[in-house]
């Protein structure tokens, strides 16, 4: 997959930067942990 196929992100991520991707992963994990804590 060539990088020029996408005008946002890179060939490895849809997010603008690795840091942005890290924060999305962190947010997702916190939401999942909260749901597991409350409902399991």
């Amino acid at each position: 997959m060539a990088e020029d196929k996408f005008d946002r992100g890179t060939a490895l991520t849809i997010f603008g930067t690795d840091r942005h991707e890290d924060f999305v992963a962190l947010s997702l994990s916190i939401i999942i942990a909260l749901l597991v804590y409350l409902f399991v």
Binding site: M1, F6, I14, V40
Partner: protein, 528 residues
């Protein structure tokens, strides 16, 4: 740029997923599920099928009939096609190919003399990556899915963060010292050897620097983090990533075979994989391939892997000093700023989850790998829905069976533990449990006696439901990430690993893999 494409495939895949979930729910798949032995996955087949299928149907309809305009909604929703594509491959692999391969492995065992599915590690993780590689190289990833495939690394990172929930402080304190010592030796050693080799073979300093970070620390992200410090060109980063991925893929297939051949335990293999394999994704792949039906190996490997990532600031600092020394007139770089801007935040997420788990909110704080000891009356004498007390204490006939064989036990600590068990009808401490597990393993008693001890063991050992849920979620995030990772391994990226970087990277990689194997076999026992 508008990303949404007028394709029916997202809708079709959604319909397939929902139809499959419904078939499982209605019992139409019962014969197939029974044949493949996937009964315990029936619940997740329905939940995941309906959830992903429903989203794919909604987005597929929107893609087909709505007019897309450039913007965030178009950009992010258009990734759903690729995500659904990866999940569909993951479903086929995890619920179809994996159990089928296990059946074929057993069937061919008498003819071949060995179970090829076990020996070749043909489980859902390895087959998922292979499926990804086959799709991208033989058929190409469909254009409508390419955008979404770029979310696979997010899946891996989320899986790593959630993995923190499985650790408790007491556990890490024991493993931590060993991982820091082992990783320290091998990370710093590998970086030093690459820098020395690069100078000997006259590689550009920028190439050597980025390769050293990639081979020494945690693969692709370390290479990317170190690149601005040594002012690496994009082709040099590509060479390094190609080398790391190719070597990592080879290791991912070879490590589990060698580990099983040497009869390594979960902790030993986890320590070796976490130290010797160059890239985080392949560490997870090898650990899951070694132990597909459990997560103990993955946990140990990730502790070593995370320890390795924590060395990144030190390596970045070292490389910066090394580069500035070698490159007269190199542009001045703010090292603190580079570390602050490049340090992978998801590692901090892992530590956050680990801290939360250590407080005891997901399982009793003293839990070990999600399992914990509890012999309180609340657990041992549970009242069911009809108000009847369900006792988990040993019955009189169990006690009689043990008393009849008590004379076979000669060790004082074992005798004392058995006496306490007989007196209280339940195991009184973790130490007593461990002591009597030793009696079972040594086969001192008859099978009937061992069965009673095992019954007593199971009555006081529990797995926290929250941790069990985290395990399932982590396995799915990794499966998703690894199938997507396979779809990014093209022949072109493998060819990029040719030449000098491949030679140096491979030599150092082999030294690291063999060296860490020897050290792990000598230093790591299953009892730490």
């Amino acid at each position: 740029m508008v990303y949404s494409q007028k394709t029916p495939w997202t809708l079709i895949m959604g319909l397939i997923m929902v139809a499959y979930a419904y078939a499982v729910q209605s019992g139409a798949m019962a014969a197939v599920i029974k044949y493949l032995g996937t009964d315990r996955h029936a619940g997740e087949m329905q939940i995941l099928g309906y959830a992903f299928g429903g989203i794919a149907i909604a987005v597929g309809l929107w893609q087909l009939f709505a007019k897309s305009a450039e913007g965030h909604i178009d950009y992010y929703l258009s990734a759903v096609g690729g995500v659904t594509f990866i999940m569909l491959v993951a479903f086929i692999v995890k619920w179809g190919l994996d159990p089928q391969m296990a059946q074929w492995g057993k069937a061919a065992q008498s003819a071949l003399g060995f179970n090829f599915a076990t020996v070749m590690n043909l489980n859902y993780v390895v087959m998922g990556i292979i499926a990804g590689i086959v799709i991208v190289n033989l058929f190409k990833v469909p254009a409508w899915a390419e955008h979404g495939v770029r979310l696979s690394r997010l899946g891996l990172k989320t899986g790593v963060i959630l993995l923190g929930t499985l650790y408790s402080l007491a556990e890490l304190a024991q493993l931590g010292k060993l991982s820091v010592v082992l990783i320290g030796i091998f990370v710093l050693g590998s970086v030093g050897v690459v820098l020395w080799f690069g100078a000997r073979r006259s590689l550009p300093n920028s190439m050597t620097g980025v390769l050293a970070a990639g081979v020494g620390v945690c693969g692709v992200s370390a290479a990317v983090a170190a690149a601005p410090v040594v002012q690496a060109k994009s082709t040099e980063i590509a060479y390094t990533i190609g080398t790391i991925l190719m070597f990592g893929v080879i290791c991912m297939f070879l490590f589990p075979i060698v580990g099983k051949g040497l009869g390594m335990g979960y902790i030993q293999f986890g320590a070796w994989a976490g130290t010797g394999i160059l890239n985080s994704a392949q560490v997870a792949g090898a650990a899951l391939a070694f132990q597909p039906n459990g997560i103990e190996t993955l946990k140990v490997a990730e502790i070593f892997n995370i320890t390795r990532v924590l060395f990144l600031p030190i390596i970045v600092l070292w490389l910066a000093l090394w580069y500035v020394k070698r490159e007269v007139g190199a542009q001045k770089i703010d090292i603190g700023q580079v570390i602050f801007s490049k340090f992978p935040v998801f590692v901090l997420g892992f530590i956050l989850m680990f801290a939360l788990s250590s407080t005891g909110i997901f399982a009793p704080a003293r839990h070990y790998q999600g399992a914990y000891f509890d012999n309180s009356d609340k657990i041992m004498l549970k009242t069911d829905k009809d108000g009847k007390v369900q006792s988990r204490l040993l019955a009189d006939k169990d006690l009689e069976a043990l008393k009849a064989e008590a004379g076979k036990i000669t060790r004082e600590d074992q005798k004392a533990a058995l006496a306490r068990l007989l007196e209280n009808k339940k195991l009184m401490s973790i130490d007593d449990d461990d002591t009597l597990r030793g009696v079972v393993n040594a086969k001192i008693l008859s099978k009937a006696g061992n069965d009673v001890l095992t019954k007593a063991h199971r009555a006081v050992r529990h797995t926290a439901p929250k941790i069990a849920m985290f395990r399932d979620l982590i396995a799915w995030f990794f499966t998703f990430g690894l199938v997507g990772l396979g779809m990014q391994i093209t022949m072109a990226s493998i060819k990029q690993a040719g030449g000098q970087p491949l030679v140096i990277g491979s030599i150092v990689g082999v030294i690291k893999a063999v060296g860490s194997l020897i050290v792990v076999l000598l230093m790591v026992s299953e009892s730490i």
